[in-house]
Amino acid sequence: MTIPKPKRSWRQIVIRWVIAIAVVALYVWVFTGIDVKWERVLSERTINNLDRVIPQMLSPDFSAFGKVMEKMMETLFIAYTGTLMASILAVPIAFLAASNMVKNRWLRNLGSGILSGIRTFPELLLALIFVAAVGPNPFAGVLAIAINSIGMLGKLYAEAIEAIEMNVVEAMSANGANKIQTLFYGIIPQIIPQFLSYAIYRFEIDVRASTILGIIGAGGIGTLITIAVANRNWSEIGMILLVIVVVVVLIDYLSAFIRKRIV
């Protein structure tokens, strides 16, 4: 018996080869171009360094616990305030960027343009700008986090809005509901769980992100990290790491718990 061979057009075959060659070329370019000093990486010094750094990191400096914890709390506050602000501010932009909400292509491109623009803006530069605007305090960090998070949250929100069941929206307008009523009865109930769960997810990311802001005086644990690094104080870095890991893992479990209950 003859089994028909899968049909592939010439076009498909050519596309396949082009992709394959492109991928191979990419990797050749990457691996020949990158300048890794293997003889250094694989040298005895690496082992000496491992010996020097790791044991110290693994014996965290508990005397620093108080100050690390204090800064960690500040980091948490920054992340919470910033994320909450962002999760609200992102909503209107997300609606603007969702293809099933805004029919005008230019408006929509504006919406998604704003979002990708924000996402590329380095958070450190944002923090710098806000330190200049409101002074070197945690509020500058809050603002930097808030703006930075809008980019990602807005994008995720917009995707969630695009995925809603539009026939429900149709049913609402078939009832004689106006636009605002349709929003509250047809759209919001559909998107709320995702929005909440994205906001919580983003909160976790922001806790990590706000650890960096301290570098330029915008509050949080970043100052401690940079100073400990400059002082080569590995055991304090160990302590900082321990606090971050434990606190964030706890938040993680808490938020997984909350998320499970709302979705």
């Binding site: 919470y80 700008i129 605007a133 002074g135 993680d252």
Partner: protein, 271 residues
């Protein structure tokens, strides 16, 4: 913690649109969220008036970013190439490593509870480490240079990717798995025939998403001598040369845009 969702029983009709229980629940959640917000904005000295007064400075600073200094692009090029190369390597390795581990961390594939929980905990802990600490530690061990940067990116993106992929695996349709098992397939066959086809498109698009994150993360790495375009960013901010900074931002923006475009194309083909 408020007990949020409970199985709504056929609660008797209260004459209201919203049942008494739901009303209490919503009020409680609202109170907690707002209460926490008030507390944390006091702790962080967040006052709107400060922001409003500071706005002219925001505009002033943003204004200084323009016009970007296009002459600077030529000097950005080598570091940009390095950044992209670092990100490609890191993403590739992270994507490969992520396959077995995300299977371990997926509840519906790894049915041994302790193994699954250990994998999950390990990943959760790994993901919490800020990229800057990773970079610092690797620079401390392997010296400055791209190798340390790549390692930091691998660990960083491995954590994110594995979480996303294992969640994707957990949400696949369980029925084909049962069917393969029922026709005598072993664990590996079940993965190859029922799990992988279902997660392949997401695997690709999430990997590209992580690639994009890696490009952005290397901005931070530059601060500790771990290579990449971040080095330039830090330099130019240090000299307060904002038009050059803007040039860097625009370059990164276009790279990210290009990745988004490519990943859109790939998704279209795969889904």
């Amino acid at each position: 913690m408020p007990k949020i969702a409970s199985v709504p029983s056929s609660e008797s009709f209260s004459g209201n649109v919203i049942s008494g229980r739901e009303k209490k629940r919503i009020t409680l959640i609202f109170a907690v969220v707002v209460g926490l917000y008030i507390w944390s904005s006091m702790e962080t000295e967040s006052t709107i008036t400060d922001l409003i007064e500071g706005l002219p400075h925001v505009f002033n600073m943003v204004g200084q970013l323009f016009p970007p200094n296009w002459d600077y692009v030529s000097q950005v090029w080598p570091k940009l190439v390095e950044t992209i190369q670092m990100a490609v390597i890191a993403t590739t390795i992270a994507a490969i490593l992520c396959i077995p581990v995300s299977l371990l961390a997926a509840r519906n594939v790894t049915t041994i509870p302790w193994l699954y929980h250990t994998a999950k905990l390990f990943l959760n802990a790994l993901r919490t480490i800020p990229d800057i600490i990773l970079a610092v530690v690797f620079v401390g061990i392997f010296g400055i240079g791209v190798f340390s940067g790549i390692l930091a990116l691998i660990i960083f993106s491995f954590g994110i990717l594995t979480k996303l992929i294992s969640e994707t695996i957990e949400s696949i349709d369980p029925q084909p798995l049962e069917a393969i098992r029922a026709s005598g397939g072993n664990a590996i066959q079940t993965i190859v025939y029922a799990v992988i086809p279902q997660v392949l498109p997401q695997f690709c698009s999430l990997s590209l998403y992580v690639f994009e994150i890696n490009i952005r993360a290397s901005v931070v790495l530059g601060f500790v001598g771990a290579g990449g375009i971040g080095l330039l960013l830090q330099q130019q901010i240090g000299f307060l040369r904002y038009p050059n900074v803007m040039t860097l931002i625009i370059v990164i923006f276009f790279v990210v845009l290009a990745i988004e475009y490519i990943s859109g194309k790939i998704r279209e083909r795969l889904v």
